[in-house]
Symmetry: D2
Subunit: 335 residues, 4 copies
């Protein structure tokens, strides 16, 4: 039985507690939050769980084997590093840290102490994203040509982080998981429509060490909610629409055919293929539940999680580069 401590019981914390509660090999031991009202809420729903104000008390608790950090981004590093130093395994909310420097230090600390460090890139644990990854791995799409994602809605403006660090990290983590190439540079543009507030609209292009391009459009100020990703392959193409109740993934047997007409390499004939569309049935598992079991399993069996510290670092580096590029109106930033 793995004892779990959760730091932060705000927006996401209750979801984490509910899901870890249902994992058979785990037990929620303690939850820490600075706000009394949150602790009161916790006590009502989970009377058996220790409700603590001081996260350090939670870290000192020997019944806690693993810690989930679900606090604002600016505190991730300090809490996670303290947890690792206290010998705990750690699952950190996305984005893993506020800087890539912090991410690297966290990875070092975890390796030094042989502890599991995992980042909560929830979408990696959805059946839809795993299905696309599988299609790519099985070469069903051919070569991946582009990854294009739109994530917009009239959303919760964040005061401490921009829309890149809030929404785009979801897409960047999925892109990293799916695209079988290494990002090499980033160009991003963004705008804030509210004075002295972080950017609420952003466009991020990622270049890779292969002929594939990635693009993410995120916006907190859109009249409609869109969650649509196009993944182009040389053989097949995917539309992943997360708002579809069923058929989230549609695989199109479409593409182009390129033939040389023999005379000259400069005279390519480009034809079009259009075939069937296919929407694979997806499992109905809740991503967070699956993720909680994955974390507990990694802790128990001393395995590396699908979203390990390196995955967390990669996304933080991309977000960092995008932020820097956006501040210079799109100037490309090498990774």
């Amino acid at each position: 039985m793995i004892g779990i401590g959760v730091i932060g019981y705000g927006y996401w914390g209750p979801n984490l507690v509910r899901n870890f509660h249902e994992v058979s090999d785990a037990k929620i031991v303690a939850v820490a939050d600075l706000r009394d009202s949150r602790l009161e809420k916790l006590r009502k729903q989970y009377p058996a769980v220790k409700a603590l104000k001081d996260p350090l008390e939670l870290l000192r608790d020997p019944a806690v084997d693993a810690v989930v950090v679900a606090t604002p981004v600016s505190t991730h590093f300090e809490l996670a590093v303290e947890a690792l130093r206290a010998g705990k395994h750690v699952l950190v909310e996305k984005p893993m840290t506020a800087t890539s420097e912090q991410a690297r230090r966290l990875i070092d600390e975890a390796e030094k102490r042989r502890r599991v460090l995992m980042v909560d890139h929830t979408f990696i644990y959805t059946p839809a994203v795993r299905k696309v990854r599988q299609l790519v791995a099985e070469k069903k799409l051919g070569d991946v040509l582009y990854y294009d994602s739109v994530r917009v809605n009239l959303g919760l403006f964040q005061h401490d982080v921009s829309v890149i660090w809030d929404l785009a990290v979801h897409d960047l983590s999925i892109m990293e998981y799916i695209v079988p190439a290494r990002p090499v540079s980033v160009s991003a543009t963004a705008i804030s429509h509210v004075p002295r507030q972080p950017e609420n609209t952003a466009y991020v292009t990622v270049f890779f060490d292969a002929p594939v391009i990635g693009h993410v459009h995120v916006n907190w100020l859109a009249p409609v909610k869109i969650r649509r990703t196009l993944i182009g392959g040389s053989e097949k193409m995917v539309v992943y629409d997360d708002l579809e109740p069923s058929e989230k993934i549609k695989v199109y047997d479409k593409g182009i055919t390129v033939t040389s007409n023999g005379e000259s390499v400069y005279k390519l004939l480009i034809g079009y293929r259009a075939g069937d569309m296919w929407a694979p049935q997806l499992e109905m598992t809740e991503a967070l539940r699956f993720e909680a079991e994955h974390f507990v399993g990694c802790v128990r069996d001393n395995k590396r999680p699908d979203t390990d510290g390196q995955a967390g670092l990669s996304v933080v580096r991309l977000a960092e580069a995008a932020t820097q590029s956006a501040a210079e109106r799109g100037r490309p930033v090498e990774l």
Copy 2:
């Protein structure tokens, strides 16, 4: 009665001839095309129209008052400038020219000779785009905050121009028409997936001399057809979906409210507004028919067209800057 000559009877030419044919004040006098098969097709359908091989013969014809240039982009400038020198009024396909330098010279020539110079930015003559412009002009949307357009499908790969010069010019022309600010710089990224062929996927950000951002995503290699534009305003927001058979324009009474809590300018409270949605009934006029009448009217009454040489130049400059920026992976290019 205005005599019309059309140069180029390929993909778009027959549409132009059909529409000018129905304009009461105009008469198609001659059509020129290099290919015999095209001229044969013309003769069958319009036996009364002169079918010429040599465009210069068309330009010499005194019965021709105005010339429509519907040839590949690389030939626009030369044909248009010859037409102006021959004293003809000119309507040029989009993009108006291959370079902004050519566009400027065309404008000068037209002014010197007091002839109408118009560019065929067809979308400007659609009821949907004109309705959005009207909403902006009447301040119904408040301040325009962003213009975001997606135009993707499994499309005809062009060999001579990139997707920026083929598809994005549509969006850039609409953006220029709708956004009440002056573009100041461009950052673009793009990729070609076929060796030695122009870019087939591109992302273009336009910065303005006002707190508004423009973005265009164009792609010839998408599994689904999308023609969707989001226009954010401080009061209302618009979704313009050109594939909707009716309700192309939806106006959302949504937005944010920003209030200072008095203590500090750094502590802004951001709230959300969500109200009714409204889809105004649009006229059913065909854009090209309306545009043909507009051109004939401008020639007859010596008026400046809605899409004059300056509009053509602006779009060419944006496409030029986007191409340059894309070649440098997003480096911003000042206009």
Copy 3:
């Protein structure tokens, strides 16, 4: 404070308990269910609520002022009549009873004992349905011409009742609430695709004492989920799509214009009108929460609920007539 007892803790019971729990003037006193596992589940979540096996024990409890009957249809009448005889106010699941005779006796019993009798026609308490009713009441649609509803999906086959008594009662209750006319006869057709099982597909037409027609299509065996209702009016028409996350109600300013050409009454000229579409913003209240408060308010203030015994009876009569008509392949049944 009104004491609430709930009989039946199966599919719907927990939703009822959760919602009544949040009503400030009410208190869940006891829940009865025959199955130990259900009671166990209740005890865990609501340790303060009495978990009873015997519904009669619940009815004898003086702390219980009002009883919610959430058991299979065949038991509604007996439990409800016992509750009324015990002096309790009663809220019964839909359909109110298995026969119209039972419905009438229930109404009599409630009147005799001056107790509130309410039926849980949940959709009547949704913002969407109330908005349509309001539009009709304010004559915004003109005369109501038809009510057409489709409610299909791959659904839970019921063993004890047909799809008419399971799904169609939702639509019949909404139709009764919205259409300002009195049903006079019913023609229905239906089929069962599983031997010895109730009908899983049905079509019900309702005729009124006015020139309006109602139709309901229900199906447990459809590959896709559809919840769409068209309401035609002489001035405007409504599409109510319950699966739309927002914009559930769309009001179309469309219709026909009928003019006599003067010569003869037989020569009518029929024209078409097409105007704007408008999607009113709807409140976000949960229907069941609103309904629970309505019931508690009616009990407290001795008022007649929006879905009173008569509403329950009307729907049962329609379902009864539809069942009879379907058994005779559509023969019309007078009400």
Copy 4:
């Protein structure tokens, strides 16, 4: 070369002429219409075709081998029978005749004279409908359980025929083509909202000599256009949406599983299956062009068309029965 004469050059006639024009083995010889304006239009576009006022003159023309009757329904029988008597092959607009008695006499006449009699059930020649028929024939859907079709829009009110004879005949012809069973009775309900005008809204249920049910909903007075058919099978189910630009046919691997639990035949366990969805690529052929070639091929090779006189009769009988049933508010009418 088959000589074609067309009687009626109103709404549908020009489409027929255009498509027969492109059939290599056929030649449009003559067109007859009572209205001078129509003939004028014809002469302009097809100067080589004889433009006649008198249909009898067309029937006497020895260059005419086959006649297409595209006039109002009330005249179909007389013109078609005259054409057959004149030794011509005949293609008649849908519905084939105004009564089943007329349809039978037409079939007799055609058989007696060994001439091709074909009815223009256009949808039978669409790639979508043929694909569904093929899926059924190959037993891919298992047993067909139901056919449910909705065809509604703000449509052209007809003065001479009801919505059953105008729109429902499309669906009835498709249903007959797809459902592998014989219709045995019909129950229909309908309403006219304009005094002294034919019904503009109708619901038609068709019963078969097998456990399958058919239903058609047609409406000229709907605010939105819907063309959607659900075809349920015991193995798979189809959604056919004619308004989808691509993916008109979606095949769902969904259904129920029925198992007996051994104890009793009354205790059936019903489970649900949900699998992949698949949208087969459809050919892009225009239905009318394909149909024209089919007619010409049948005339040339003396073959029976897919939509022969019997197909025409079946649909007329269903429409006749539906009309009679609707007049009696749903009373079932045996076929």
